[in-house]
Symmetry: C2
Subunit: 274 residues, 2 copies
């Protein structure tokens, strides 16, 4: 008990107390200012033995980053994060906490959370976000829309940078549908196409340095964004000084079409969100 | 994979699609209207082997209820819930989902979530809430304030009803500090007293039917609210037609004082939130 209290107190101290008028760690619930515009909500667990094998700092970072990426994929920006930790006895999570604190400073403030004992180390993060104007859903792609991805795929970097600025730029450019590549381009693009009831025909898959073609299509954990938009010039204009997105294909009217070059788009990927 | 997709689709269908302008399950993040006033955020895991041994409907209910109780303990009301499920292979969670759907209908709408495989069945819920005016923290109790509890303790009902209306009434009555009894009156009252830097002297502990004195002090899982307030008449007035809260003691100026009748307030309880 004392250990757990000390642990929580120490983490809360490192996270800081938030701006005046807000109450972060230490009460029954965190108190924050509500965003203007639409409120976005996402949650995502990372489970020992499934998403990671060692409780490294990168795991703490990724637990926040993958949720921030979900917010970015709506064209929004993150506001606040909550962390729930299930901690087996005698597991050293000091590195994992370091990664959470890094992400708190660089990606999204952690304003509260909870801990429990349990047999399997699990880090579940929930985030709120805000979007100016209409969020970009998965379901708005139209036949003829071009498909873009915000960067080369397959590298699964140890500290992924969620594409928040890119997601906002895509929204401003009139993106009709967007999803983040968490489970592999092939699977996530299938999700976008199914939600939008369009076909997809790819003519390019940008492969990251050191990655294979298969990595780029099915590895996931990239957290680049894939989006559809009708106007190439508007997209390049909105991205301004950001790295320009890479055009990879087009949406078609045949809702069953899933094509890569002359062949079918591979199956692959794992896991599901709702 | 197909099983998981079917599972999620089936649950999402049962949860419904939300009001016009909102997007619940099915995209990267849920889209909801932001509350007016302060935004409250809470998260809480329930872990197999720690919080429950069987995946009953009551577990699904409790996973939502304990978070709603955290919102109630701020004097707020729940707005939206997210659910993260870690599902071992071959565990039947249909009853647990029934309980989640019941809670979705009666306590707080579930607007999204995520699932993962994993070795230990874990249900983590995050909730947002809203509070009109200033939230009631744990830290505002003053010497001389009276202490109240919203009901008898120790029964640990299988379907606890979070005291949302009572928490709002306490806030309107000028409650200076409040906490929900999730880990037992003795421990939770110690938390309130420590956060407020006051002493507490109890002269009554209301024991629920079928519960023991020890249950009432240390069992927890009651989700009644304990609060401090300076004015008994204002409290009774604000509660109106609700069951009146039970006066159990007083806050004192000696911040180290923890007394029950002529003896010390017992230690006890478990787990910690932050």
């Amino acid at each position: 008990m004392t250990d757990e209290l000390d642990f929580v107190a120490s983490l809360a101290e490192r996270l800081g107390s938030g701006p005046a008028g807000e109450v972060w760690a230490g009460d029954d619930a965190a108190v924050v200012r509500p965003p203007e515009g639409h409120l976005l909500l996402a949650i995502d667990p990372m489970v020992h033995g499934v998403h990671f094998l060692e409780a490294t700092a990168d795991v703490g970072w990724a637990a926040i980053a993958r949720n921030v990426s979900d917010i970015a994929a709506m064209g929004g920006r993150p506001a606040h994060a909550l962390v729930s930790l299930v901690l087996p006895a005698e597991v050293d999570v000091s590195s994992l906490l370091d990664g959470l604190v890094d992400a708190h400073r660089e990606l999204c403030p952690i304003v509260g959370g909870d801990t429990s004992s349990g047999a399997t180390l699990t880090v579940t993060v929930a985030v709120t976000g805000v979007v100016d104007g209409a969020p970009v859903l998965r379901s708005g792609a139209q036949p003829g829309d071009l498909l873009f991805v915000t960067g080369p795929l397959g590298a699964a970097p140890s500290r992924p940078e969620p594409r928040v600025a890119e997601g906002e730029a895509a929204r401003r450019a009139g993106a009709t549908a967007m999803i983040d590549v968490s489970d592999g381009l092939a699977l996530d693009l299938r999700r976008l196409a199914a939600a939008s009831a369009v076909g997809v025909v790819l003519d390019a898959v940008p492969v990251a340095d050191g990655a294979s073609w298969d990595d780029a299509l099915t590895r996931g954990e990239d957290y680049e964004l894939v989006f559809s938009a009708p106007d190439r010039d508007a997209v390049l204009d909105a991205f301004g000084a950001l790295d320009p997105p890479i055009e990879i294909g087009v949406c078609t009217a045949d809702a069953s079409e899933r094509r890569l070059g002359d062949g079918p788009l591979p199956e692959g990927g794992w896991e599901h969100r709702w």
